[in-house]
Symmetry: C2
Subunit: 440 residues, 2 copies
């Protein structure tokens, strides 16, 4: 392709994010064009239903319902796939890449499910696939990992990657309110989807963790290969117990690599974090990503993780990089699809290899000998107890028993919980949370 005077963009999808990109691209266009020395034009917009009511009116004369035609349109240089879903989105993405175009995407589920295929297609056809908006919204974390921290290997990356969950947890803690009522309020305010499962069960964070793990370690880890636990079983009492122990509770994605054994662990679960740590104090819909590099030490990135404007900011930065590639040549290897992150012998650790401290909350019958029985099960599995908090339960025949452990193996902990749950004096399922003693 020779150097174009006008960079033509095709937008596939004109929902919240698509409208944000349209709006803010109009605002940033003059500055971008003067930097590039070339024009930028949204050439076509594909929508499923042109008659749907939208906050931003569809610009006349460029609308189509055929996203695949946009992907194949020889006049279009950059295709922004902002439809969501993984079926038509995949076809659109692969079609555009096969035509040598640059694809910009915010679609974490697509990347997580089909990333290997997408990057291989981009490489084969000399196209590029950019995805800054897929993780942590407006925070330029993809660029930081790929380029800014390129001198580093990453023993630990962890963070708050789902704003909905963080909003719910923050409200539960601040208002001492139960999960269900806070979820209802979050839906009313538009902070949670009508079907909240993808967020609150941890799958959205797992998709993002998968992308970060691939960028940092060159290995695709699917959510089904991870420990993924959501926030639905957390109660206001858990926040009080955690506070007594000096912790807050956050839903974290945690990606660790042992630089000696080269074992990689990727997981998503509610985590007790020291209450003085910066990440424990990131509240509401904000995201935070802590990146520890073997050279740079720990760096931390905080910002809005979702929403129209933050996501549009990231999409437009990818459009700017894409336009620069088109105008100035093939450009930086670091955004080029042909340079995939190196695996360097890294391999996925089985989940049982996780080692950490644990928080266990049991509802038990309020009768003598219960603590002794629980403690002896733990002793049998060589789990060492660090602290015990017993408080009255919801009715006067039950009590709440909270135990924290010293560092233990996930395998032993799981076996312990199975046996504890079988005790006649234990009511219902134990709640297990992990403790992350991350102080930086």
């Amino acid at each position: 392709m020779s150097t174009p005077n006008v960079i033509r963009i095709g937008l596939c999808g004109f929902g919240t994010v698509g409208q944000g990109v349209w709006k803010h691209l109009a605002g940033a266009r003059r500055a971008l064009e003067s930097r590039l020395g070339a024009g930028i034009e949204v050439h076509r917009i594909a929508v499923r239903n042109p008659r749907k009511a939208r906050a931003v009116r569809l610009p006349a004369g460029r609308i189509t319902t055929d996203a695949l035609a946009v992907a194949a349109d020889p006049k279009i240089h950059i295709v922004c796939e902002l439809m969501g879903g993984t079926s038509l989105a995949r076809e659109v993405t692969l079609t555009a890449l096969r035509h040598g175009k640059i694809v910009v995407s915010a679609n974490k589920a697509l990347i997580c499910d089909h990333g290997a295929e997408i990057f291989a297609t981009a490489r084969r056809h000399g196209g590029h696939f950019l995805f800054e908006a897929s993780v942590a919204g407006g925070i330029p974390i993809i660029k930081a990992l790929r380029e800014g921290l390129v001198a580093n290997r990453f023993p630990r990356i962890y963070g708050i990657l789902n704003g909905t969950c963080n909003y719910i947890l923050t409200q539960m803690e601040e208002q001492d309110a139960p999960y269900a009522s806070v979820l209802d309020e979050a839906k009313r305010l538009g902070y949670a989807e009508a079907d909240e499962a993808l967020d609150v069960e941890g799958w959205d964070a797992a998709h993002k963790a998968s992308i970060l793990a691939w960028l940092a370690h060159g290995v695709w880890v699917k959510p089904r290969q991870m420990v993924v636990e959501g926030i639905t079983r957390i109660t206001p009492a858990d926040f009080k117990n955690a506070a007594m122990l000096g912790y807050g509770i956050k839903l974290l994605a945690v990606i660790t690599r042992d630089l000696d054994s080269n074992e990689l662990s990727v997981r998503v679960h509610p985590t007790l974090l020291p209450e003085g740590s910066v990440v424990a104090n990131v509240s509401g819909v904000f995201n935070a990503v802590s990146v520890t590099g073997d050279v740079v030490g720990t760096t931390l990135y905080i910002g809005r993780g979702a929403g129209q404007d933050a996501t549009a900011s990231a999409v437009i930065s990818d459009i700017a990089d894409a336009a620069a590639l088109l105008v100035h040549g093939k450009g930086s290897h670091l955004t080029a699809a042909e340079t995939l992150p190196a695996r360097n012998g890294c391999r996925l650790a089985p989940p049982e290899h996780i080692k950490c401290r644990y928080y266990v909350r049991l509802t038990v019958k309020d009768q003598p000998g219960v603590l002794a029985r629980v403690a002896s099960v733990m002793a049998r599995h060589h789990i060492s107890i660090a602290s015990v908090i017993q408080t009255p339960g919801e009715d006067d025949r039950a009590a709440s028993l909270v135990l924290t452990t010293h560092e233990s193996h996930e395998r032993a902990m799981n076996a312990t919980l199975r046996d504890v749950a079988r005790l006649a004096s234990v009511i219902g399922e134990p709640v297990l949370l992990r403790i992350g003693d991350f102080n930086d």
Copy 2:
């Protein structure tokens, strides 16, 4: 220049940072080379004194004392200027750029003093000048501003840009210790230079603020055009007073642009920050930069702001970008010298245009009527008092009087302080701190 098979680097300077780059480049080289598809070699190293004892031994066979010869060496593609100073460093930089080379620099004073000349030279000769390491050490803040947040205009950027000052302030607060003794300890531990003035008087932070302001707004603002105040007059009592008012104290660089009037303000001064804010809780040698974009909202970046390893991480990321430019073509416009940030009508506001809330500490004679006299001076200048704290002074004939104001103009505040200092009952110079009600 045709695509080279081996990228040859010249290091000018082999002090703390140079040794760090040498060491960590050796560690990262294989990964970088496999991404690039080209070799990377440190070809020559220029030092002032080859016989000086160094923690890392000088690699034999590549040493010279002639930095200008390295800058002009036709075999060398990338020159890393890590000598410090602004005289020989400027010559080396300009020489290398005139030869069309890429220069990587960590030298904030050089950029601040000679940035306009350096970037113009790079543009004229098709070279590039990269400077990620010049601000906030290992945090990739330059890349975030230039590329990741390219869709944004920046109404406010502020942050902790000097780790030495932040270490001293943190120790003063935590140990209730006076400035002088903490400074001595910081020197002993290597956190402060033998000549500490550049750090503690705010000039180092001002150099960095100048670079960030240029990147964000396209205007070079020299430190002498800014309000620059250091930390030397802060006492442990100031921390106690601030805490009573719900604030911590940080040395901040603050860059604000009024998007309506297009007035730019750049300043460095100790600032009272709400104690719950994340930046107020960034302690020790860490840096933090808060960037508010008109699209993305507020994003925050935290990490080690100095030191051998963090700085080397940033220098190596620039080397990687430079190598990619050489191997893959001209590359991203965003790191190219020919695309300077746009000024867009932005102009520097006179310092008197600053408007904020103020904290004033006076040492006064402990006699009746003092508060009335101070208050009436303030009333005469239309400065509205928000709170008053009076505490016993160091001897029993003096008292400490702390006043905070509602939002006022810097001009009126300066006039007020002049008049207050002239009162017979006021002892010594008033201490003025600014209050930054930045909650995000």
